[in-house]
Amino acid sequence: MSQNISVKVKVWRQDGPQATGQFESFDLSGISTDMSFLEMLDTLNEQLLKEGKRPVEFDSDCREGICGSCGCMINGMAHGPERGATVCQLHMRSFKNGQTIVVEPWRATAFPVIKDLVVDRSAFDRIIAAGGYVSVKSGRHADANVMLVPKDTAEKAMDVAQCIGCGACVAACPNASASLFTGAKITHLALLPQGKVEAARRVQRMTDQMDSEGFGGCTNIGECLAACPKEIKMEAIVSMRREFIKGAFAEPPRQAGSDNA
């Protein structure tokens, strides 16, 4: 049943990308356990506004765990203590009355803090832009049923394709590695016949981009797996390595170029 609790929220405040940040603590009472974590932050922000203070900035959009906008470290865990959930799916019933909750932004060199809990994850877009696609154009294609895909393969592809790009894997990784994110896309496309054609070029370009964004290397610790709200498995990273080795024996990638008119 729902009840009201009091919590102390110790949250990271940083005015801008260049500013130095620090923690600031707030006491909140009358927090319903039915509230989501982000609704608790909404409540805090209303309180701050009334006191004439600057609200805590954080990203959030769909609030049902699919858009990947939200994300922060809660008591040292990416997306908080609940497994397989984003911050917006975390409810206050996961916390005890009187508990102190430490809230920090994702921390990685490749994810610079913009303000408070808001970070810049555009590095992920650049990794996808380096080959996370099948190079087909809009238009007429063969009928969708011409190329058969075994049910099991489609399911495996979906297991990794459901990555929401939230960045929790990077945030949780002791090395700040983006291997789970990158591996998920490489694996998704390498599993399907449509994506196999350019698999070699894709894996080389995407992993190069991952490195040049300044992410760390993977040391197979697997904290990313525990943090991933979609519970993507180690197989995504292992299969990325397989594709990498296969790709290394393929022809070197041609110079990236536009095929546009």
């Binding site: 921390r107 990685a108 002791p174 190069d208 490195d211 040391t219 610790i221 525990a226 292992v238």
Partner: protein
């Protein structure tokens, strides 16, 4: 200029795995050879040592290869470590593992530390035994019909010092922990596992680490307590 692939962090992990496997291979042969210490008397071990040295140039090539792998393993590890350091310059005030599938822990997060400890041990170990007092210092025996180095005596003398015993035992524990994560990790880095084999390999890796570390670890104890004679 080296091909671009050599600078890839994925390639570096592959290199770590391959050299790691090579080093594990060495450890296993080293352990099998040294198992002669568990046999009674000094002859079996000295005979093994003499035979090994009679290989001449083959041994030298193997030693250089081993050294190469060792150096490559360390240099690559350090490169990766620095990459990780740079990847997160601001640390978290609070950090905790979400457990579950995570293998996060002191060991898996401190492979570089355990690696450096092992390096320090290896330097000491090689200095003490490989480059320790030889035939000109009077450590001479005759097991194959000609005079060879009495390495057995040196080993026994070394392990009569409880400090050395403690040091070696500690080093072997560190080695075991390093292998515990490292051996399994190497399979992952080479893309050789699937979901089920990964679990089995994780257990196998634990067993292998225990076997190697345990096999070496009991030698100094065995000798110190004079079980052998």
């Amino acid at each position: 200029m080296l091909p671009k692939i050599f600078s890839s962090s994925v390639f570096k992990k592959i290199l770590m795995s391959l050299t790691g496997f090579g080093l594990v291979g060495f450890l296993i042969t080293h352990l099998i050879g040294n198992a002669n210490l568990y046999r009674s008397g000094s002859d079996p071990f000295n005979t093994y040592a003499a035979k090994l040295h009679s290989l001449g140039p083959i041994l030298e090539v193997a030693e250089i290869g081993l050294l190469g792998m060792f150096v490559l393993h360390i240099v690559t590890a350090l490169q990766l470590k620095f990459r990780s350091r740079n990847a997160r310059q601001d640390r978290y005030a609070v950090n905790a593992s979400k457990k579950g599938p995570s293998k996060s822990g002191f060991i898996s997060q401190n492979m570089a530390l355990s690696g450096l400890l092992i390096l320090a041990f290896v330097v000491l170990h090689v200095k003490q035994l490989h480059f320790g007092p030889g035939m000109d210092a009077g450590y001479v025996t005759n097991v194959t019909g000609e005079s060879t180095r009495d390495i057995h005596r040196l080993v026994v003398e070394t392990f009569s010092d409880p400090l050395n015993v403690a040091l070696y035992v500690a080093a072997m524990i560190v080695l075991g922990l390093h292998l515990r994560h490292g051996f399994w990790s190497a399979f992952q880095s080479l893309g050789l596992t699937c979901e089920r084999s990964s679990k089995a390999l994780y257990i196998a890796s634990g067993l292998l680490a225990a076997l190697i570390a345990g096999g070496f670890l009991f030698m100094p104890i065995w000798i110190y307590f004079g079980v052998q004679s």
